[in-house]
Symmetry: C2
């Protein structure tokens, strides 16, 4: 492999080698998708820039999604890689407005992995699958030699069924929409980083990993006209909003003061030098919906413990298309950009 | 991780750590599935021991399958990891009797991977997808730090549609069935090993990687009553036959003299100390079908260049249930067991 190393702290946009930041969910990830994957694989489903593809299978509207999980460490406060692997793909389907039905699981194990670790992870996957009411129906296991992997990598793919007639996708977002966030932000990223850095905070901070179909379904059942949903994983709220703003060709403005962040997470972020708007979550989503339905949506969401912190955080505008703007606590206004480098590698 | 190392050359059946042979497609892979995955995930689809799951989605009969690819080296005579990733999952669907429709792709890249390698692999995936008439509709990319991966790992999952009314699965195999092999064996494994060992043979031996839905569909269209299909990947013909014999509760007998192996591959296997019956193929399958249709099936298959070597190699019997028996060239008869250790790690 080329030993090329960028001389500047921020990697050049068109590097000759893959950088950690290409997997960070920020600008370089987007460049990789736009410059390398889309030109080759380009199809309508991919170009919708959704969390998954919505397809027709024999007349049925089906959603199909995949994610690989490489989180480090494998076990962290509030969960392990198995929880992420099930909840993450369940959530990608839920963000397509699809009821998750079936998952596949592909394991890449490193030679020497203690069998007990694998058992723990697999048991968590089963629990999460039961909680999310999905069946793990097919799988595969590969083993790589010691030093060529990192314990366990898991890929899950999922199939869900779209029962709503709504077109839940970036293209449905309209100026005037409200942006609702399903709960308080940043716990997953802080939980991971606290283990990596060996830090202990006054309050125990556990990952927010959780399946999100139930709250999404509750909004649909309540007749809320959902325009778009996006889970707030790699790159956090700001990257998700930038993606939607770009794909929908609209501006998004959020009010910093209304973004829900718990006091322990806020404190931990200050110590760690993190901005909670960029920190990954594994059980949180943003919903774009008509402003008149924002309050009712927040109330409905708050009936779920995992959505207790739900709040309306901003709105969609016709101007400053493609960008996200932040009204700060102290009254200023600034552009909230995508992550440029890599804040927290291997967060999921 | 535990530094436990088995003291004997053949790993103990219930080791405390993951061994390379757990990914080899032989006995240890089967033990891992039976002792660890099935008890936890157990469901009808998994227990059918098929190459994929056959499911109902809104009334449609759908097949769903996944595989991860960790082949080393990434590029080899006749293909690269991208070809395997597309053809492999297309073939798992075809083995369920399903027309492949959609694929997902999850990449785990190692920091420092030359971008040109990724481009090559992705371009091959597109070509293979076009050739197999499937769409790559959803994807994901993760990056792991240098030394924690090995260039590129790819997972693909696939959705296919089952149009035949036949139940193509191990449980449909019957005593009296013939076993037809779709082409000559061993080229993929020999191609990989020749690069790893830096060997050159008199004849160029390229991997047999190819999509198999077209020949399977041709058999279905010809009205052949297919009972079961299995691709002959990790562990080769002998492991595939042992899996079917075990799952169907039947005996299988094959005649060594009728197993198609090309002269160059046979010669290379002798030099490398490999048994072509255990070597992985990436474009070959075995079909179990009524004996009266064996000849017609072989003729139909031979019309496809990738199936030019198709042959009837054996039969299913009621006795010696669960085992595979080999009538050797020199007239002896022996049990053809599953692979116990690991013959060729990371062959796919």
């Amino acid at each position: 492999m080329t030993q090329f190393k960028p001389a500047c702290p921020l990697p050049a946009a068109t590097g000759e080698t893959v950088l950690l930041a290409h997997g960070g969910g920020g600008k370089l990830t987007r460049q990789l998708i736009e410059n390398l994957f889309l030109p080759v694989f380009g199809c309508a489903a991919l170009e919708a820039r959704h969390d998954g593809a919505r397809l027709q299978v024999n007349g049925a509207r089906v959603a199909f999604s995949t994610d690989s999980y490489v989180v480090r460490p494998l076990v962290f406060p509030g969960g392990n890689i198995g929880d992420l692997a099930v909840n993450g793909t369940v959530n990608d389907l839920a963000m397509c407005g699809a009821r998750p039905l079936y998952l596949s699981a592909g394991f890449i194990l490193e030679e020497g992995l203690p069998m007990v670790t694998l058992r723990t992870v697999v048991a968590s996957m089963r629990q999460c699958a039961e909680r999310a009411n999905v069946d793990l129906v097919t799988g595969d296991t590969k083993v790589v030699d010691r030093g060529k992997g990192d314990g366990i990598f898991i890929n899950t793919a999922g199939i869900g069924i779209v029962e709503t007639a709504l077109e839940i996708e970036p293209a449905s977002v309209r100026p005037g929409d409200s942006v609702v966030v399903s709960g308080s932000l940043g716990a997953h990223g802080v939980a991971i980083l606290s283990v990596r850095e060996g830090l202990e905070f006054e309050s125990f901070i556990a990952s927010d990993t959780a399946p999100l179909w139930e709250p999404v379904d509750a909004l649909l059942q309540a007749g809320i006209e959902l325009h778009c949903l996006r889970d707030l994983t790699r790159g956090g709220l700001s990257s998700a909003l930038n993606e939607i703003a770009g794909a929908a060709g609209v501006g998004v403005t959020i009010d910093e003061a209304s973004v829900p962040v718990s006091e322990p997470v806020r404190g931990a972020c200050e110590i760690l030098g993190l901005d909670p708007l960029y920190v990954a979550n594994e059980g949180r989503f943003a919903a774009f919906l008509p402003a008149r339905e924002a309050e009712r949506s927040v109330e409905r969401l708050r009936q779920f413990p995992i959505c207790a912190g739900a709040a309306c955080v901003g709105r969609v505008e016709a101007d400053h298309a493609g960008t996200v703007s932040l009204n700060s606590r102290i009254g200023g206004r600034r552009v909230l950009d995508m992550l440029s480098g890599e804040q927290l590698p291997r967060i999921c």
